[in-house]
Symmetry: C2
Subunit: 205 residues, 2 copies
DNA sequence: CTTTGCCATGAACGTCCGTTCAGTTATTGA
DNA sequence: TCAATAACTGAACGGACGTTCATGGCAAAG
């Protein structure tokens, strides 16, 4: 049974297009399960059951399980880079570092699972897929590296080693995924401010 | 074939003691594979093959796969806490924070796999096992929390939220596992110093 | 030399895995 | 009304999984 027309009206379903309900649902469920239990521990049957279809139906939407993981990570990285490029990239290095810090944390509000998967499931990608994601990760980290180097050159930051500092800051910010919960005692904006305070001081600004 | 007597001499093998070679070997191999590929992705047969025995032989040393993971994490946490208690725990909060920071990083030299697993494989523990490990983790983090609170009270540190700061610092230090390699451009002592510089400034000391 | 009993084998168990596919259903455009 | 086709089912595939166990070899003890 195709439910689409009930929701969408009756346009645009050329005979033979894929369902625009099941596809996104599969991605949502896979994302959530991969984040909660890990890629290797989640079977296609478990995803299918949660979606409400048989396992075979998943293969109308993904060629295989690996592609499902890769597509999730890939579109996340592209969305992350796109969203990042819309955030503040002007001003002094200190301004830009604050924008980066707040952006990275605030992005957890909309896509906590994606951020979690992006650094937990790297080792479950095939070498080819890993290379693609790693390059995008590199682009993202390069933005932070660029800010740090500019800050050092401008005399705003005092850093022994900007490359290590990049890694340290990214790790620190990513750590938010491991403990932050929406219903916790702090809003994400408060978390942003606390982290920004530490990052600012850490770089000597 | 039992190779022990060739290496150890001929003492202490009472009829019926477990081999003192295979047991440790299994733990070493499991540790390395779990760290590299993840608990769920490593089969008992793969561990056995790397050790050089059949899969069934593993069950002379562990009741099941879950216990193997748990034992590795549990003895790691106890070793970590024991080693930590021998490191510097006196002096000003700043001294103690430096000791903690350097200890945590330097411990990577001896047990990189253990540290990596301890924060990557938590979700693959059964609820009961998770509770045990989580309590030990809590003890370790409490040491850092205590230092931070003492520093704030002593007026040495300026921290908005010591609890969040604890998490942030731990995440930052744990991040070392994801990129540090022995053969890299920096010695671990250099890494210690770079991180200590950032931690010190981040807490406002 | 014989007994003891640890240690390992290798086959087997039931189950689950990712994936494929012929067949069924439902809905469309003509 | 009917052919076309997307979506899905349900069964099946070969293989891998964690785990068990009867069997046997082999080093130490008596």
């Amino acid at each position: 049974m195709n439910v689409r027309s009930v929701i969408d009206g009756d346009m645009a379903r050329t005979t033979g297009s894929h369902s625009d309900i099941t596809g996104p649902r599969i991605r949502e469920v896979a994302l959530r399960l991969f984040a909660a239990e890990g890629y290797a521990a989640v079977s296609m049957r478990k995803i299918a059951a949660e979606v409400g279809v048989q396992a075979g139906a998943l293969y109308n939407y993904t060629p295989d399980k690996q592609s499902l993981l890769f597509d999730l990570m890939h579109s996340h990285m592209e969305d992350l880079l796109a969203a990042r490029s819309e955030a503040g990239t002007t001003g002094t290095p200190t301004d830009r570092l604050e924008a980066f810090t707040r952006f990275h944390i605030s992005y957890h509000e909309e896509r906590p699972h994606e951020i979690f998967i992006a650094y937990m499931e790297l080792r479950n990608l095939t070498p080819e897929n890993f290379a693609v994601i790693e390059e995008l990760r590199g682009k993202y980290e390069d933005e932070l590296s660029g800010i740090l180097r500019a800050g050092v050159e401008a005399g705003e930051f005092t850093l022994v080693d900007p490359r290590v500092a990049t890694r340290a800051i990214i790790s620190m910010l990513n750590g938010v995924t491991t403990w932050y919960r929406r219903e916790g005692r702090l809003t994400l904006t408060e978390v942003e401010t606390i982290y920004w305070d530490m990052v600012r001081k850490a770089v000597g600004a």
